[in-house]
Subunit: 341 residues, 2 copies
DNA sequence: TTTTCGGATGGACACGTGACCATTTTGTCC
DNA sequence: GGACAAAATGGTCACGTGTCCATCCGAAAA
């Protein structure tokens, strides 16, 4: 593979001149520039990013670690991030932690070994890796959390306005007449310390309700676990009149369970979920959702990270929250008369 | 950031010895090894993959270029590939070409600049980038095509058994009584030269049918285009009795169009599609699908690429086809009596 | 004690680039 | 044509690692 010296030799100039043809072409005489350019084309020369990064002391590489690539939220996030990184000459390394700290650490080490300049991370719940992130930051990697953050983490973040969304959702359901509202999956400081389940009680209290203990359960945030919990909830003596799903993944499980129980949405039970996944508009009835502005979030994340990396302001902390959007489609209706109190 | 020389100094040994503690620990006296290991731990040393790759002349990096990361097929492919790369100390660079040759080339150059050792690529249709891929291969990148291949491409591939799938699908529909079968999107040597649409006529002929000209149309393989084409097809004087969707993405568009036309599946029209996406089991009726063994395909792709890269057998060509699996769920039934001939 | 040999350890250098400073060439003015 | 500044070009080295070869040490054999 030809290198810059080959190009220089082929063009009859010094290596430094050859390199300037790439990075500072304005410094060269047009004739020289042209000669070097032809040499580059003829040899098919392509700069080695490895050597450049090594010398420069800084790579043109960003890391993106997602929680679970199968979830459309993360797939869309990857696409958006990739889209906005494009054109800035940065490569994107992507890893999927599957919400597991062990995998997360393994991937972080890989990123670190490859000296990524910036890292956008959806950290795992209850992860012991905060210290490692701190270390990466101390060594020059700019870190931004997305979708979820460690409590007390010192890093920049891009998050959903969880409190606003939960309040709006609960208010919407309350106004329809619902009093027995259940979320899929409850708050747990270690297993599922996500903001949505944490602020749910506050949102209830804001409309004068309080959490119903028998609906509270800590589950994994998976389709299967949501399926199971829905079966259990709907077979309680006094089942909830509405299920509030905190992720689109869980909504699929809940929807399946409701259908298998022979219940009708929204006549027997209402369903509201986060994430405007495409299937939510295809099922019958189409689901009411709280849409996350994934595009905006990904774009903001890239901007913050690239700004910090390019200006080497690694200690600059930028924190942004984005509003969700409640979309009504028909899966929420007033609760059945017979069960209303 | 500490380097191997710092470690050596800290442990009181020569750089070479320090490095052996990492790569060839069996060569060191246990006491020395222990001292170096302690130094590594105390300094938090992590080898610089850039410098290593530069010296070695080969990176520990693979590239994966997908057609469209939003499609669950590719999201699953990414996950599977990431999963099987893990544990081999390779980093994964991921890019999304969005089926556009221009983006594809841009991403290929990025991969090339970062000197990826292997590349798994779902190439864009009618792309002019085959020559560039050839060049990358000549310079030491092992290349494997997945899901689609350039006609006459010289590279390894992992593909679906398109012919088998199309034959089985057509046979299934024929046996139900269908004679007017339309695919969504037809074959075009430049725009959509995919195997599925190409072998569709053969599959028809195998059961004694022939393609119906008015159903043949070249469309983009998108949800929106499929939606439009479905509207058009179903409003023809003699509409097809069944739609055969070649991708899961298109099925969503078709499903939406059918519902909006007030038609009932499968009584008014049947629907069969590739890709067992989760939503296909949630809608009413659940859809008959031809499932692609994404896991197996991704696993095989990684194995082939890593084998070739690690043994430096860059000219070894491995080609595999995987069978699809027809899953019946109820969206295909005998055609309506009134329209049957 | 000397020799020999294999197990341990050490030293020098190259990978391809970018940063930095040095040198040559060109243009302008008197 | 000479002086001078600016424009253009050139030379050297370090980034952190892996490779290659050299050296050292200690134990067993002579």
């Amino acid at each position: 593979m030809p290198n810059i010296l080959d190009v220089a030799k082929h063009a009859g100039v010094a290596p430094t001149t050859a390199k300037r043809a790439i990075h500072e072409p304005h410094l060269l005489k047009p004739a020289t520039l042209e000669r070097v350019r032809r040499a580059i084309a003829e040899l098919g020369y392509e700069p080695d990013q490895l050597a450049g990064s090594l010398r420069r002391g800084r790579t043109q590489t960003l890391g993106l670690m997602v929680g679970n690539i199968i979830e459309p939220f993360f797939a869309e996030l990857i696409r958006t991030v990739a889209k906005h990184v494009r054109g800035h000459d940065y490569a994107l390394m992507i890893a999927d932690a599957e919400y597991e700290s062990r995998l997360e650490l393994q991937n972080l080490k890989m990123f670190s070994g490859h000296r990524v300049s910036g890292l956008i991370i959806r950290s795992a719940f209850g992860s012991p890796n905060l210290e490692y992130l701190r270390q990466m930051h101390a060594r020059g990697t700019y870190i931004l959390e997305i979708d979820h953050r460690y409590p007390d983490s010192p890093f920049s973040y891009v998050l959903l306005d969880a409190k606003g969304c939960m309040s709006e959702g609960v208010r919407y359901l309350y106004d329809l007449g619902h009093r027995r509202i259940a979320t899929l999956g409850g708050y747990d400081p270690v297993l599922t310390p996500d903001e949505r389940s944490r602020v749910f009680p506050e949102a209830l209290e804001a409309v004068g309700l309080s959490p119903i203990p028998e609906y509270q359960k800590v589950i994994e945030r998976t389709e299967e676990a949501a399926y199971q919990q829905t079966l259990e909830l709907m077979q309680l003596p006094t089942p909830p009149t509405v299920l509030f799903s905190l992720t689109g993944m869980e909504a699929a499980g809940a929807f399946k369970a409701i259908r298998e129980l022979g219940l009708s949405i929204p006549y027997d039970v209402s369903l509201l979920t986060f994430d405007n996944y495409s299937w939510t508009g295809l099922v019958d009835p189409p689901l009411d959702v709280i849409e996350q502005p994934v595009e905006d979030m990904g774009k903001a994340a890239v901007k913050i990270v690239l700004d910090a990396v390019e200006h080497q302001t690694l200690d600059k902390v930028v924190r942004k929250r984005f509003p969700g959007k409640l979309i009504r489609r028909g899966s929420c209706a007033p609760p059945p008369k017979t069960t209303q109190r």
